[in-house]
């Protein structure tokens, strides 16, 4: 069924009787060409591109709960490609381009809104780093602008310019960045993948990987064994658990990132804003809520909840940056489990086990990467070689010293 304004009108006039389930609820087949573990954004995107671009139709996504329930269902919805390093920037720019055509590609309105992002800087050192980054973006074909303090003020007059502990000196802007309706991304990919024949199997938990003679033959699940020629793992915060079933230790720790939303407010924020002197970034959703976040809690955890000190830290940053939000009320806080890697950058690679592929280590940047992650993982699964924009995301890069460390924080995941 094709979605369109005409269709909405037609259905409205006929009592909405014609709307079909957005995806089927198939029983698992005994064997698939590819099984993707994890029905989150990345897994579903992988299924979409595998089926639509690479023509593989005998594909299943197995999800232990409900699809879109991982980090794609609980994030701060920011989409951008303002990266510094050669290993990252082409990948994220590729992703941003896919975002720009996503809705038409999957025929689902994910409300991708190119409202722009501004990363504020407060010191000369930060400015220099942002100039380097902005240049890297432009040299990689992305867009970037540098604003001085007056220009920032003209665009964001409500920021704290006159009573700031760390005065705003300017900002790096990417106009093509923005936000998207996160749940809709999962649903749009799921719908498209389903239409292309992919089996999306919910409430099907992977309990083991069947590996014989170094080759992965399929997955043991709560609904029985399902065979596969190739198995791709895209389970974000649960990477350690699932790959542990294959006996692998990863350069990854699981951490919790909290996010927050305020009550609905009439429009106040024109773009995504990132504070450079505290842990706070914010945008305003189409429903009017201020959606914001900060730093991870900092300790290993699989519990999807955080604690008060970080809540306070984030709100302190928010109030320091934009004191007008003091009387806006924080409505809800939640936590998502992040697969924090050792250099803050992801991994899309084969593994030592034949037929087993890994996609993870997205830290808290996974949402914006969703399209490219899916595309590149599909490419790897289909062709057994990395997509050209994802060649740096090797599992062995820590052994060889080819880290992709945007922050320069080193091998301590909670600092990335």
């Amino acid at each position: 069924m094709r979605y369109s304004g005409f269709r909405v009108i037609k259905e409205a006039l006929t009592g909405h009787k014609g709307w079909k389930p957005v995806w089927r609820e198939p029983e698992p087949k005994p064997h698939y060409d590819v099984i993707i573990i994890g029905g989150g954004g990345h897994g579903l995107a992988t299924a979409h591109y595998l089926s639509k671009v690479y023509g593989l139709r005998n594909v299943a996504v197995v999800e232990k709960g409900w699809i879109g329930g991982g980090n794609v269902g609980r994030n701060t919805t920011i989409v951008r490609s303002n990266y510094l390093l050669d290993g990252n920037e082409p990948f994220y720019e590729f992703s941003l381009k896919l975002w720009e055509g996503l809705e038409q590609d999957v025929n689902y309105n994910a409300m991708m809104s190119q409202r722009g992002i501004i990363n504020l800087f407060h010191t000369d050192g930060q400015r220099d780093a942002y100039i380097r980054r902005g240049n890297a973006m432009i040299l990689n074909g992305a867009d970037a602008e540098l604003l001085d303090a007056d220009q920032v003020r003209a665009e964001h007059p409500y920021l704290n310019f006159d009573d700031a502990r760390f005065p705003i000196k300017g900002g790096l802007v990417q106009r093509r960045a923005g936000t998207a309706r996160h749940d809709a991304v999962a649903w749009g990919y799921a719908r498209s993948a389903d239409l292309h024949g992919v089996d999306i199997i919910q409430n099907c938990e992977v309990t083991g990987l069947r590996i014989e003679n170094g080759t992965c033959l399929g997955v043991e699940t709560s609904r029985g064994f399902i065979g596969a020629s190739k198995v791709g793992c895209a389970v974000a915060g649960n990477s350690g658990r699932v790959m542990g079933m294959a006996g692998m230790r990863l350069p990854i720790e699981s951490h919790v990132l909290q996010a927050f939303v305020s009550e609905g407010l009439k429009p106040v924020l024109p773009s995504v804003i990132t504070f450079g002197a505290g842990h706070f970034y914010v945008s305003q959703s189409d429903k009017g809520g201020l959606v914001f976040g900060g730093d991870i809690d900092g300790y290993n955890t699989y519990a999807q909840r955080g604690n008060l000190p970080v809540v306070e830290d984030v709100c302190e940053g928010g109030m320091a940056l934009m004191p007008m939000i003091g009387r806006a009320r924080l409505l809800r806080m939640w936590g998502g489990v992040m697969d924090m890697s050792m250099d803050g950058s992801p991994i899309i690679d084969r593994t030592p086990v034949q037929g087993l592929y890994f996609n993870g280590g997205w830290c808290y940047g996974g949402f914006k990467a969703t399209p490219a992650s899916g595309y590149c993982f599909a490419h790897l699964l289909a062709k057994d070689e990395p997509h050209p924009v994802a060649t740096a995301y090797r599992l062995d890069r820590f052994r060889t010293g080819r880290m992709i460390d945007e922050k320069g924080a080193g091998n301590q995941p909670n600092l990335h």
Binding site: R249, Y299, N300, P309, M342, F398, N411, N414
Partner: protein, 95 residues
Amino acid sequence: MIINHPLLGPRDASEFTYLGDASLIDRPDGMAENAADAFYDYAYLRDNPAGEHQELWYHEAGDRSWLVVTRNTLTHEISKVELARDVARARGRSK
């Protein structure tokens, strides 16, 4: 969270700074033959367990002790807190 400091009693975790897996105590010998492999493993690979986890916390706003905290990463329940120095000695570290 509250960490029951072995010397000071219960303290708010916000007084502490987290480092990571307590396996970071087990630093390999840099002069050994296999140092490159051992250090790769030490510095980069983690068990990352969903369950009991021994981990290093530093009492930054307190007595500056490094602690080994045994905490469940699913429930956050803390079952044991030890001075890291004692743990390090017990694991055979000295000078």
